[in-house]
């Protein structure tokens, strides 16, 4: 009877220890930076275009309606538009706030040509982004959603965008 009890205690302890190790390994694996070792041959592919045909058409329209002094850029990285307060230097990947925005990108960002100050972000999506939406609201940068299926016409887009540019 005592032997069975000891056996169970050992099994319990070893299971607990293994689960703890597994948890720690998973944590380390998620927070560890991407390794610096070189990629194998043909691990990556370049996208043929930066914008799909609908987004390209929209970019053309956007460029056309923008007032002088503004420029549009596409695919900007989230961590280039927004910075994190009190960020751990040299260990940015350990900061959950940084990780949330670092893998995000904006479809279009309108910047002031003179000093590249961001003025307006545009997301080519049907529904608000769960990460970008609250972050950009917090920093006070307007984010406009354009549904690809219901792309506005030239005048409608101008009426939507120009007041937002004037606010800055």
């Amino acid at each position: 009877m005592r032997l069975v009890l000891y056996g169970l205690v050992i099994i319990l302890a070893s299971t607990g220890f293994s689960l703890l190790c597994w948890g720690l390994w998973l944590r380390w694996h998620r927070t560890a930076p991407a390794g610096d070792d070189q990629p194998r041959h043909r691990d990556y592919l370049a996208h043929p275009t930066l914008l799909d045909p609908t987004a390209h058409q929209f970019a053309y329209l956007l460029r056309d309606i923008l007032p002088a002094g503004y420029a549009v850029t596409a695919g900007m990285a989230g961590n280039r538009l927004v910075t994190v307060r009190n960020l751990r230097r040299h260990q940015v990947w350990r900061d959950a706030r940084w990780n949330r925005i670092a893998h995000k990108s904006l479809d279009f960002v309108i910047i002031r040509s003179a000093d590249t100050h961001p003025v307006l972000a545009i997301s080519f999506a049907n529904s608000p982004d769960a990460v970008l939406d609250p972050v950009l609201r917090e920093v006070g940068l307007p984010l406009l959603y354009i549904a690809p299926q219901h792309m506005p016409g030239r005048d409608a887009l101008r009426h939507q965008i120009v007041p937002l540019l004037a606010r800055v």
């Binding site: 169970l8 990556y44 850029t73 695919g75 927004v82 706030r97 910047i111 917090e138």
Partner: protein, 195 residues
């Protein structure tokens, strides 16, 4: 016998609790909400006093928008680059690398578990040249300032070079200068852009 049954039951309860906690943590990680202030009321007040942030009414801020997307050095280069490019091409700035390069045979639904994905998901390129007519990716440009001489940046640049080489998209490194030779830059660019 009854002791054994109780122990086995306990073991099962502990294991299911651990598994439930792990799954809860995983779910919380996926929903990617904004971080909430931790601790009780006293901790929040103390934190507010220490960080000089009002605690009542206004929530704690975690993010700030950048004042300028490009640094003055990058702006100077961007002007020269824009002047050097033929009219048929356009430049995009601070482009997320994942918009330019993708992973071959990605893990569906769990890209963050793929090391190759993690290598590209948080990096960006200073400038990307695209063809105005169809947004075709032509060339990426990195402006190498003094930070590129740091050991971690050298390793990062080597990795980026390897990724871009593997993807088959040219990446041009331009060292920061006080004055750019427009003609020389134009000649360099024309080597990558079909006329």
């Amino acid at each position: 016998m009854s002791t054994t049954t109780v122990l086995v039951f306990l073991l099962l309860v502990i294991m299911s609790a651990i598994i439930a906690a792990a799954r809860r943590r995983q779910r919380r990680g996926r929903t990617a909400q904004l971080p909430r202030a931790r601790g009780g009321r006293v901790a929040q007040v103390l934190r507010g006093v220490l960080s000089n942030v009002p605690t009542r009414g206004t929530p704690r801020r975690h993010y700030d928008a950048v004042d300028m997307v490009l640094t003055p050095t990058e702006q100077q280069f961007a002007t020269v680059l824009r002047d050097s490019l033929p009219a048929a091409y356009d430049i995009m700035v601070q482009v997320a690398l994942q918009r330019v390069v993708t992973v071959r045979n990605p893990r569906r639904g769990q890209p963050w578990r793929d090391k190759r994905w993690n290598q590209i998901s948080q990096k960006s390129l200073d400038f990307v040249v695209i063809r105005r007519a169809d947004s075709k990716l032509m060339l990426a440009i990195e402006l190498d300032d003094a930070t590129h001489l740091q050991a971690n940046r050298i390793a990062r640049d080597e990795l980026l070079d390897a990724i871009m080489h593997d993807a088959g998209l040219p990446l041009l490194h331009v060292p920061v200068q006080s004055h750019y030779d427009r003609l020389a830059l134009q000649m360099r660019l024309l080597g990558y852009l079909p006329s």
